[in-house]
């Protein structure tokens, strides 16, 4: 197909729908019950960050216990298990998923594809309020009798609903399950929006292969989440019935503390299959948006086209599809049919290939680039380091027999924190430093940003890299304290204390970041519409920050792909996507 020529000047202005729609009547409908995807995105982000801070404090408390066992009397075993459970669940679902899809998805999708808003703004608004309700129910469990659940974020029955686990026979587990169900309902409303918006509301000329990888990542992750979250919903409903009505979906005949319970014949493994059928895609629901965003950060700040764009798109789609057939690699030692191990180890290691291709392409984008070491770029580099590290340890755990000695040890904890905690969070940081100027019109403070980066990057690496070796020693995860154990040398306690101190420092560095967010809102350097000289559409809005409706009178028309950086012969080292070809060579 030849597209380079044609009646480009004769393109009619894109149709302007009823702009009246975009003038909210009051402060309340503009900032609180807003139907503007950008405001909803900010609401999602702020809520997720707030609950994320709770998770951060919980991680401090658990690290205090692990690093200095016996020193802090106020942390009881029950509380310790409640802390780890809530920390895990908040980080995975209420922070990472909500922030990437609800936060970045809402803010970026309409802007990056040249739409005025999401296609179902009302459902989009409901999505946020239901999410907020889910968060409030979750927080309520801290104040409920018996406290929140301490079943571990995987909530495995039978222990999750028995009295030997904190919250098991109290309100904790009930509120947890209810909150998850609300989250899923709310997410589904948002998710339908993101998918249909990408499919139906793209600007003229915005073909799928001209979409920035950020949109590809968020879009694919949303499709996956829409199909995977029902599995969590099903397991939550069934566990709730087991707990409240005494059914036996997951509960076998068992004797708890000498008491025979009325359950009969249920299967704990059934829960694990359902849970991980959601749980594994969930990893990529977080990772794919991170992949997409980091691609755009690297390309923009290295002033070079993303290397192998097509491969990057295909890899996102292939990873998304494959991630639905690897779930049982979390269950190698669960007692499932051992022959499944062959299948799931193979699929799991196959998924490493498209993932590796993505890493190579990020590296090859840096290679022969013009690397500006801005704060977003620094975080992107830190993402590559931690993601590659955590991805490679995934090859240990995915390779069925190697998993046997390592499963349920601190090695696993170190692995998933590196790959699914630290790496995506670095992308979130990078993305915030990158898009904050568009959201607020001001730059974040550079010096504070660099301080935040260095402490977070080196600190997080020093936390989680040595932690693998504690796992190699044989220290199991989810231990309130390891105590006197023959095979654990005394020096391991020193290492644990070191990790805890680093955790406190890295946590404290986040305060700098939060302060920066607030400080720069007023005092930051004015950014102008396009401070990074980026090509994608969100930087080409007529106003910054963009108002409701985004584009003023005329929708943008897209003439080129999003990675025209350093094109030979061009006057500048970037050509915006909506720049018509006739004027490109000015």
């Amino acid at each position: 197909m030849s597209t380079a020529s044609g009646p480009l000047d004769g393109i009619p202005a894109a149709e302007v729908p009823d702009v009246e729609l975009y003038h909210p009547k009051s402060w309340l409908t503009k900032y609180v019950f807003s139907q503007d995807a950008k405001i909803i995105g900010i609401q999602y982000s702020l809520t997720a960050t707030s609950i994320g801070l709770v998770a951060l404090v919980l991680s401090w408390l658990m690290r205090l216990q692990l690093g200095f066992p016996g020193t802090f009397d106020f942390i009881t075993p029950a509380e310790y298990y409640q802390f780890i459970t809530m920390h895990g669940m908040i980080m995975v679902v209420y922070l990472l998923t909500a922030l990437f899809l609800g936060g970045f998805g809402n803010y970026l999708i309409p802007l990056m594809i040249g739409a005025r808003d999401m296609v179902f703004p009302y459902a989009n608004m409901l999505s946020y309020w239901i999410y907020l309700l889910a968060v409030l129910v979750l927080v309520a469990s801290f104040f409920a009798p018996g406290g929140p659940t301490g079943a571990g974020w995987t909530l495995y029955p039978p222990q999750a609903i028995l009295s030997g686990t904190p919250g098991g026979q109290d309100w904790g587990i009930i509120l947890m399950l209810a909150s998850l169900m609300l989250f899923i309902i709310g997410f589904t409303m948002g998710g339908l929006n993101y998918v249909v918006t990408v499919l139906q509301a793209r600007a003229r000329g915005m073909t799928l292969m001209r979409m920035p990888l950020t949109v590809w990542g968020i879009f694919t992750a949303t499709v996956m989440a829409l199909l995977a979250f029902p599995a969590l919903f099903v397991s939550a409903v069934m566990m709730l019935l087991d707990r409240l009505l005494g059914t036996s979906f997951f509960m076998p005949a068992l004797v708890e503390m000498g008491q025979r319970l009325n359950h009969e014949g249920g299967s704990p493994l059934l829960f694990q299959h359902l849970f991980w059928f959601f749980g594994h895609p969930e990893v990529y629901i977080v990772a794919l948006p991170a992949f997409g965003i980091v691609s755009d950060l690297i390309s923009t700040h290295a002033r070079r086209n993303i290397f192998g764009y097509r491969m990057m798109v295909w890899a996102i789609v292939i990873i998304g599809a494959l991630s639905f057939v690897v779930w049982a690699h979390h269950m190698y030692v669960s007692g499932m049919n051992p022959y499944f191990g062959f299948f799931f180890a193979t699929t799991t290691l196959i998924i490493a290939v498209p993932t590796a291709i993505k890493v190579y392409n990020w590296l090859l984008t840096l290679w022969r680039g013009n690397i500006h070491l801005t704060v977003p770029m620094l975080f992107a580099l830190a993402f590559i380091v931690t993601f590659v590290n955590g991805g490679l340890t995934g090859l240990f755990l995915g390779n069925v027999v190697v998993d046997v000695p390592l499963s349920d040890t601190m090695f696993v904890v170190a692995h998933f924190h590196m790959v699914m905690g630290v790496a995506p969070i670095f992308v979130i940081f990078g993305a915030i430093y990158h898009w904050y100027p568009k959201i607020t019109g001001r730059m974040l403070n550079e010096a504070m940003g660099r301080l935040h980066f260095w402490v977070s990057f080196l600190g997080a690496y020093l936390i989680f890299f040595p932690m693998h070796y504690i796992g190699l020693l044989g220290v199991p995860r989810r231990y309130y304290e390891i105590g006197e154990t023959a095979f654990v040398p005394a020096s391991a306690a020193t290492l644990n204390a070191f990790i805890s101190v680093m955790a406190l420092i890295v946590g404290a560095a986040q305060i700098v970041f939060l302060f920066n967010l607030a400080w720069s809102l007023r005092r930051g350097r004015p950014a102008g519409p396009n401070p990074w000289n980026a090509t994608t559409l969100e930087w080409q809005t007529p106003e910054t920050p963009p108002p409701h409706g985004n584009w003023g009178k005329e929708l943008p028309v897209v003439y080129r792909w999003p990675y025209d950086y350093s094109v030979p012969g061009a006057a500048q080292d970037f050509i915006p996507q909506n720049h018509p070809p006739a004027r490109a060579a000015e």
Binding site: P77, Y81, Y156, P158, G164, P252, A253, L254, V255, E256, G265, S267, P268, R303, R304, N305, V333, S334, G335, P338, G341, F342, T346, L349, V353, A356, I357, Y360, L363, L366, W367, R368, N370, I371, L373, L378, L381, I384, V385, V388, T393, L395, F396, V400, V402, V404, P405, D408, W454, L458, P466, Y469, L472, L473, R478, G483, A486, S566, P568, D573
Partner: protein
């Protein structure tokens, strides 16, 4: 420049930490040396990949950092390079997977001569059941569990009469004989984990799971629970004592059988 130094430090430091740190797995005491070998292979392959990636990044940052007059090269893709990298990765992944699957196959193939031993988990202690003279374990059911019959052995089954029950003590095993460990739980999930044996498997209430191994070293080994089982999870400890065969039989003779226990209660 600090970025380059930091990246090099991360790469070199990680390798140095791996080589020099005193934290490493406990010496093996079972036949699963192959698992250690696959782990070592994995460390080599992934270690090389990690160091290469990070050092290459450091090189890129040094060589292609922004400076006056420097411009990025426009190069949308390079099919040949991408294919080579894909093939190389696939080979590396295959080199990890193949030994892994071979060892897994032997891990789940129990030798015919293995003797059966049962370990039962409950909140928060371990119990063990050893076959008596007949070498067979009797059938069990969670329905039969009671104060007199903590493991729920069927009193009507002749094979169960001479079973030896050890509650909360230590598990004795003879050296050099393959053992098929049958795992049961009577309340929640547990996992009998002895780091020296490398093998482990969850115990699931309502079903019987298994793993097998051959003890290769005499001594006392500490067992932990490796699947979250409630508040007492970290204190759920046990011990495995591996002894010479003769010593094992002498010990077994002195243990009370299930029928004797029942008789004593009556």
């Amino acid at each position: 420049m600090p970025v380059v130094i930091a990246l090099v430090l991360v790469a070199v430091g990680s390798v140095a930490f791996h080589l020099l740190s005193p934290w490493w797995w406990t010496p093996i005491a079972s036949n699963w040396g192959y698992i250690d070998t696959t782990l070592i292979i994995t460390f080599w392959i992934t270690g090389i990949a990690f160091t290469a990636v990070v050092l290459f990044m450091a090189y890129c940052v040094l060589r292609f950092r922004a400076r006056p007059g420097h411009k990025a090269e426009h190069e949308p893709e390079n099919k040949r390079l991408e294919w080579w990298l894909t093939i190389g990765t696939a080979v590396g992944v295959g080199a990890l997977l193949a030994p892994g699957l071979i060892v897994w196959h032997s891990f789940i193939t129990v030798p015919a001569e293995a003797t059966e031993v049962e370990i039962v988990g409950q909140q928060w202690q371990w119990s063990y059941r050893l076959p008596g003279r007949d070498g067979r374990l009797g059938t069990v059911s969670a329905r039969l569990i009671g104060p007199d019959n903590p493991l729920g052995i069927d009193p009507a089954d002749p094979a169960g009469q001479d079973d030896v029950i050890v509650e909360g003590g230590e598990l004795r095993l003879p050296i050099g004989r393959p053992v098929k460990v049958l795992l049961r739980a009577i309340d929640v999930l547990h996992n009998f984990y002895v780091p020296e044996f490398r093998a482990k498997m969850d115990m699931v209430p309502g079903q019987v799971t298994f793993f097998w191994f051959t003890p290769t070293r005499t001594g006392t080994f500490e067992a932990l629970c490796a699947e979250l089982c409630g508040l007492g999870h970290p204190v759920m400890r046990g011990r495995v004592v591996v002894v010479e065969e003769a010593e094992y039989h002498a010990w077994l003779e002195h243990q009370a059988t299930f029928s004797r226990r029942l008789a004593a209660v009556r």
